[in-house]
């Protein structure tokens, strides 16, 4: 850093001093020492005087307050090309809740179909009980024993129309659950939490 005069403070220190930023470069003791030096140094005073004059010139340099021409905005807007394709807007909270309600409806519908057409609760209870019985009886090294156990599962005794209800209900339930998950991930900001 070039000193203002031999043995004097650096030029940038004086600029920082003039700008009120010296505290970032000097500690308290150094600031006091600089203030004492400046009070008695004609060359540093002259330097500060020239900085003040420079500041005056720079202050008149601003163009920020000058308004743009009256037609500026219109000219810019006229020069803009049409947007190729507007991106899909993020759904608002009302739309999001609507989608969630639809997904929940699908899940409920799927469950109802399962319950109504294939007596799912009985089926599940049968599986649960049979699994316990079967696993305790089956010798895992005996392939025939496992086959017998699988063939005796309650589901194998269902009527064909029950299978249709089972599949249809499962598909609708899965669609609803999937839609619910996707819409939850795409929740508008502030709604997901």
């Amino acid at each position: 850093m070039k000193p203002v005069h031999p043995g004097g403070p650096g030029e940038e220190i004086l600029v920082a001093w003039q700008d009120g930023d010296a505290a970032a470069l000097l500690d308290n003791v150094q600031e006091i020492a600089l203030a004492e030096h400046l009070a008695g140094c004609a060359r540093c005073q002259a330097y500060l005087h020239s900085l003040a004059a420079l500041e005056t010139d720079l202050a008149s340099f601003s163009l920020a307050g000058r308004p743009a021409g009256a037609d500026f905005t219109r000219q810019v807007l006229a020069a803009l090309p049409p947007r190729a394709a507007a991106p899909v807007p993020i759904a608002g909270p009302a739309v999001w809740w609507g989608h969630q309600a639809l997904a929940a409806g699908l899940v409920l519908t799927g469950l109802l179909i399962l319950l109504a057409t294939s007596d799912v609760m009985t089926l599940l209870a049968g599986w649960w009980q049979h699994a316990g019985d079967g696993l305790s009886a089956v010798v895992t090294s005996d392939g025939e024993g496992v086959g017998n156990w699988l063939n005796s599962l309650p589901g194998t005794a269902l009527a064909p129309e029950a299978y249709l209800g089972l599949v249809l209900g499962a598909v609708i339930l899965a669609l609803g659950a999937g839609a619910f998950m996707v819409r939850t991930l795409a929740a508008p900001e502030g709604l997901a939490a």
């Binding site: 030029e11 600029v15 020239s50 010139d57 163009l63 743009a68 507007a86």
Partner: protein
């Protein structure tokens, strides 16, 4: 009056206006232009050393580029800093394409001549109008390295505060201050002929 949600469009925040623009609402972009055109033109003029009218042409290009690249703006960050960065980059490109002495206009040429060969009688400053002093300052600025000229132009030409300059240039505030201090030490001797005793305009 057109409204965005519950807010009048002219009072909507930048991010909302950007979103509306992306949805095809040009009026929203017009509000952004109205909001920032003054400073964008100032940046173009002071960083590049252009006349105000030429700077308006560059500023139009700034807004056009901003519009075409609006998808790249990240909502939640500072829109004005993003916009000013485009302006600074375009202005620096213009500045780089011409040598410092080539700043146009006879007044600028006279100012440059005074920089290089101040009148020994110390009289020319007295006859300099304020606009001519500004041209002199602009000429001196064009002789500074681009980094230093840019912070001076943003601070004094466009009236940006330290934090806005830091956001625009994507540097820490401490770097902005250091560049400003250094820029002034470089600028001071270039303008010294104007500041000698008795040279007050």
């Amino acid at each position: 009056m057109p409204r965005l949600g519950d807010d009048p469009i002219t009072e909507a925040d930048d991010d909302r206006l950007v979103r509306r623009t992306l949805d095809g609402d040009r009026q929203a972009f017009g509000v952004l232009i109205e909001r920032y055109s003054g400073r964008v033109i100032a940046i173009c003029a002071r960083v590049a050393g252009d006349e105000y009218e030429d700077a308006q042409d560059v500023a139009q290009d700034v807004f056009l580029r901003a519009y075409l690249n609006l998808e790249k703006y990240q909502p939640g960050r500072s829109f004005f800093a993003w916009l000013y960065r485009i302006a600074v980059n375009l202005a620096l490109n213009r500045r780089a394409r011409r040598p410092p002495a080539a700043i146009r206009g006879p007044a600028a040429e006279r100012a440059l001549q005074q920089l290089q060969d101040p009148d020994p009688l110390g009289a020319p400053e007295a006859s300099l109008e304020r606009t001519e002093r500004t041209r002199l300052l602009q000429t001196a600025l064009a002789r500074l390295p681009a980094d230093y000229a840019t912070v001076l132009a943003l601070r004094y030409g466009a009236d940006l505060d330290y934090s806005a300059i830091a956001a625009t240039l994507e540097v820490p505030i401490g770097t902005v201050k250091a560049r400003l201090h250094r820029a002034k030490t470089l600028l001071r001797p270039l303008l010294a002929p104007l500041h000698e005793e008795g040279a007050t305009p």
